[in-house]
């Protein structure tokens, strides 16, 4: 059983299981969306002193913060106990393109060491890229009112027009970054 679960899961397992998580949260009277927790964490850190936007009654958000704590624990469990290998079965074209951008050994691990490593983090460029990417994610998702879970999955599932617009935005930004900016940022 553990061996079976330790293989990479195909899309037709991942997608329906995400829908199951959505179902479970709604069944217990909540909603599915991760990024609002960024607001809650800001509020815990004292951001309510800077803006009334962060005046959140955290007691009503306990469930959501526990959900996020669970995601962190689940990530650890999967990484340390449910993985017999970390290689990603990438399209050979992707591997070749990335090699031209200076990304060696694409797909051998979950994450490229060219971005996610202590060495890179200690350089100005590497630090700026990760901090910048995080900033864009945090600012963008809260400005748009949701992320992949809240807008692309819950919002599209409930046929909401604002979520369609936001999801189109996700792809405009993602395509611009992948096709135009990443080749500039990682010019080998």
């Amino acid at each position: 059983m553990i061996d079976f679960l330790s293989q990479p899961w195909p899309w037709y397992a991942g997608g329906p299981l995400i829908a199951l998580v959505l179902f479970t949260l709604f069944y217990f009277g909540k909603s599915f969306g991760v990024s609002s927790n960024l607001d809650h964490l800001c509020s815990i850190a004292g951001a309510d002193k800077f803006s009334t936007y962060f005046k959140i009654d955290l007691k009503t958000k306990t469930w959501s913060l526990l959900f996020v704590a669970g995601i962190i624990i689940g990530g650890s469990i999967a990484h340390f106990y449910l993985s017999n290998q970390n290689a990603i079965n990438l399209n050979p074209n992707t591997v070749e393109e990335l090699a031209n951008l200076g990304f060696a050994n694409s797909g051998v691990e979950y994450l490229p060491s060219e971005i996610f490593s202590i060495d890179k983090l200690l350089t100005l460029k590497g630090f700026s890229i990760l901090l910048g990417a995080g900033f864009l994610i945090g600012f963008g998702t809260r400005y748009a009112g949701g992320c992949t879970s809240g807008h692309a999955i819950t919002g599209l599932s409930s046929l909401q027009f604002p979520s369609l617009i936001a999801t189109i935005g996700f792809f405009i930004g993602g395509l611009v970054m992948t096709w135009f900016l990443i080749p500039i940022l990682f010019n080998a």
């Binding site: 991942g14 997608g15 526990l66 990484h79 599209l156 935005g169």
Partner: protein, 124 residues
């Protein structure tokens, strides 16, 4: 505590995101390069099933745990904010290769590696 089940759901969600490789930077890059069906399959099947589920909620064929009607909160509608915010988010999503759910998964892996490093000498 009545909220503790949400911790369990979170653990499951974290495992799902990790095992289906949604947390992999490479998978996101591949998606935006249209070189793999993987991510489209995940998001597409999640949304497809989500549409069916939410229709069943609306028709009250599925009710919540307490037997009440399940309603989905309306998202704030603001064209400029949805589009501009979405685009800014997309830039970050593609660069970091992860969205807010997977960020916490990676945090877990990082935390695990850190604890492992500290305890290494004390472990068998």
């Amino acid at each position: 505590m009545k909220n503790s089940k949400f911790l369990v759901f979170g653990i499951l969600f974290g495992i799902i995101l990790s095992k289906s490789e949604v947390v992999s930077w490479y998978r996101i890059y591949e998606m935006f390069k249209f070189q793999s069906f993987h991510m489209y399959g995940i998001i597409g099947s999640a949304v497809g099933l989500g549409i069916i589920l939410i229709q069943l909620f609306k028709k009250e064929i599925i009710k919540d745990f307490w037997g009440n009607k399940i309603t989905v909160k309306k998202k704030d509608s603001n064209f400029v904010r949805n589009l501009i915010g979405g685009t800014i988010f997309g830039l970050g999503w593609a660069l970091a290769g992860c969205c807010p759910g997977p960020i916490f998964v990676l945090l877990g892996a990082l935390l695990g590696a850190f604890v492992q490093g500290i305890l290494r000498n004390k472990l068998p």
